[in-house]
Assembly symmetry: C2
């Protein structure tokens, strides 16, 4: 299979060049002022070609609750979320399709789905998401979200004595599910990966982390977790370990160059040094950090310390979109208010590199992904620069990152296969998906979460809210 | 002229009702479960009807520089902006069209254009923007941006002795331009308004402010200015007046219930009390405040103090879009990180009210605009709830405010006239506009501003940047 993209703009050191890009099988075969195109040629005129971005942290099935979740901090929000989480394999499939489509149409070619599992149907949940991503053709890291402590254990106890119910499934049974998922679904050559993904220190025992480390080493899997998203988690780590969560994760050997950590809002200077030394990746989810009031992650400090940072949308009920360009824009400009020296601010070109090469680093795939380089896998996105939202013409990458691009993704290739053309997803019927999402839902107004009613008073006390 | 919108969702106190809405001439004539529609009926099924929002602060001609401006704080950014500002009446017209279209397609029915004037062609600049807004049919407050001090006077002098060139035009000549603009273009019955708009304390003398107050009283005009956007302006006010900018503006009588103030990032508690007492409006421009590193305006405090707050996109080279829904989303969720008590956070319904009724208050027009009420002017926006970005179905307003709505504006009425239908602007040819914006521009990379080169060292010194 050969595709040649003719006369497309690509960024080079001091501006842009107009080139032809040849894709052969699953890789970039040539980038040149004019390569021999005897096969189908794709018109790249007035278009910009970039390496695909990575939506490096999301929870696809949260899409069923976007727009409806109360304005709550994480701990109460999670309680509400789980009271109404979908328990239906078909819905998992549809929301994975939706997540894939929104990611593709906002510049992403890879999604990391920290997938909430339906209790008792864990492998079916994973199978359903895998099926959706294969059908769309997006590169997918399905990271089954696991824990072995019950939800209330995630809130610091403070001065009070708290007793938590044991989690419904044993640590060993949970690890066996992941092991089985690897055997059934982990197919790197096909762009489908399983990652080990203990949700975070707030709900996982050391035994679960250690089991995940073993699986990661045995099967060469990425590791993915939440880390210090809220002040409550910072308190909890001190209660649980007597040290910071990062120090504890380092001690048990969880941090590595294939470990990506979502959020990282409340880290100490010592924590920052540890993440840099272990070559761990921070996945920045600016929109959910704002929506849940978690805080502004100190991303400029991370970059100065040499930590790899990339972007995620986070689940669609804490954002509430899956638009990666939105996450990149806000995740860049947000930090200008944290450092008065503008020489430290993230430029649009740096943001693009964080979203592409930074994403590849998070997945330990820099030799295969993340830049327009001959020999790398052809995960490419071509943007239409004649969209009203990208006009008048100025700096294409500046417009893409700092603007509010709408209907700008013209074409997408993943693993060399073109799956979006003329702005339309070719692999699935998106109108049919819209109809299915419509049919499986109904307009709602307020709901009341029973769990929130039970835990809110304790939460307010321990967080010193009057 | 009669339009009847049938079976459309509207928000009511405890959820949504499905109603028919009748528009007769320029007003809402009826809202009922089913009114007598013998005239043309518009299908509102699976759609949401809201009062139009106000894009309460922008500078339309900045659209020519979106995507290309350096990552700078306001003072350096302004220097770069003015070095490359368009000096061409045709460009002013095209960017006003573009601003109007992007505002309409993101829920806005009114725009407040703090319009940068081309020196020596001031009335032609105003005429050009007025023509564009009339052609599109959007309600427009053209607020010619005036000053009577030269740009370098806007930077605090600190310890140093600074000498500034006099401004090229006298205060009196400037006021005469505004007076003439009122006579030529101020036509409230036609939805076209001139506002007095001294840029702010940083570049205006008391004589200019006082002249604007007189014009405002004589012709019943709104007053619109920037206020305390940056820390540099806070310093400058102390140097200039020996008190805060707000105290000074109160003293000279500029603050009133028809005064709207863009930004308001650096206010004291005493300043907040003054804005509340004078019934002034704060126009929140969250995206440019982030982009320029100006800071996070304390919007939750303003709301608690009873100050009216509404949203603006700000000019497209400090944002760099004119998408009002983006400004509303970020302008709501941004503040969750400033107050740990989630009971103070802005809900989606409150955000909608700020953008509609809050906008009407800013313009002293609450009796005519800002809510779905029989007798008010029909400035209405109807959203298509079957867009992928608003699915699955949950809470329509939650999805609209917290999501990333794309292609969702189905219809817009301004002053009773339908100017958007089926997602397309009916009054102008948008494809032709795109072509014109394309033809009048070219892709660029970096530029070097001469003025920045002259003032950067002084700026870094006075702002204590090493």
């Amino acid at each position: 299979m050969v595709d040649t993209i003719r006369n497309v703009l690509i960024p080079v050191e001091n501006g842009y060049d107009t080139v032809d890009v040849q894709v052969v099988d699953n890789a970039i075969a040539a980038i040149s002022p004019g390569c021999d195109a005897t096969n189908s040629a794709i018109d790249g005129k007035n278009k910009l070609l970039l390496p695909g971005f990575v939506n490096a942290h999301t929870h696809s099935s949260e899409m069923w609750q976007r727009g409806i979740m109360s304005v709550f901090p994480l701990e109460l929000w999670l309680a509400e979320l789980y009271d109404f989480a979908p328990l239906d394999i078909e819905k998992v499939y549809l929301s994975a399709l939706g997540t894939a489509v929104e990611t593709l149409l906002s510049g992403g070619t890879t999604v990391v789905d920290h997938l909430v599992l339906i209790p008792g149907k864990e492998l079916e949940t994973i199978a359903s998401a895998v099926r959706a991503y294969k059908e769309v053709g997006i590169r997918a890291f399905v990271a089954p979200l696991i824990q072995d402590e019950s939800l209330s254990a995630g809130i610091p106890s403070g001065e009070s004595e708290q007793i938590h119910e044991p989690y419904f499934r044993s640590t060993q049974a949970t690890l066996e599910i992941i092991s089985e998922a690897v055997k059934q679904f982990h197919r790197p050559d096909e762009g489908m990966y399983i990652a080990t993904a203990p949700t975070g220190i707030q709900l996982c025992s050391d035994a679960l982390f250690t089991g995940c480390i073993e699986l990661s080493e045995k099967y060469d899997l990425c590791r993915h977790s939440h880390l210090l998203e809220t002040k409550a988690q910072e308190k909890l780590a001190q209660e649980k370990y007597g040290c910071s969560a990062v120090e504890h994760l380092k001690r048990i050997g969880y941090l590595s160059d294939r470990t990506s950590l979502a959020h990282c809002v409340h880290l100490t200077e010592a924590d920052i040094t540890i993440l840099a030394e272990t070559k761990s990746t921070v996945v920045h989810n600016p929109l959910s950090n704002l929506r849940l009031g978690s805080g502004i992650a100190p991303i400029l400090k991370y970059r100065q310390a040499g930590i790899n940072v990339t972007f995620g949308c986070d689940g669609a009920s804490s954002n509430d979109s899956q638009d990666l360009l939105e996450a990149i824009k806000i995740g860049s400009i947000l930090h200008n208010v944290t450092d008065s020296d503008y020489q430290h601010w993230i430029t649009p070109r740096q943001a693009v590199e964080m979203a592409s090469l930074g994403g590849a680093k998070a997945l330990n795939m820099t030799s295969e992904l993340g830049s327009l380089s001959v020999g790398k896998k052809a995960d490419l996105v071509m943007y239409d620069l004649t969209s009203l939202s990208l006009l008048p013409r100025t700096d294409p990458i500046g417009l893409l990152v700092l603007g509010r691009p709408t209907n700008v993704v013209n074409s997408v290739w993943v693993n060399g296969k073109q799956i979006v053309a003329d702005g339309k997803v070719k692999t699935i019927d998106v109108d049919n998906l819209r109809q299915e999402l419509f049919n499986h839902s109904q307009w709602q107004t307020t709901r009341k979460s029973q769990t929130v009613a039970q835990i809110e008073a304790h939460y307010r006390t321990v967080m010193n809210l009057s």
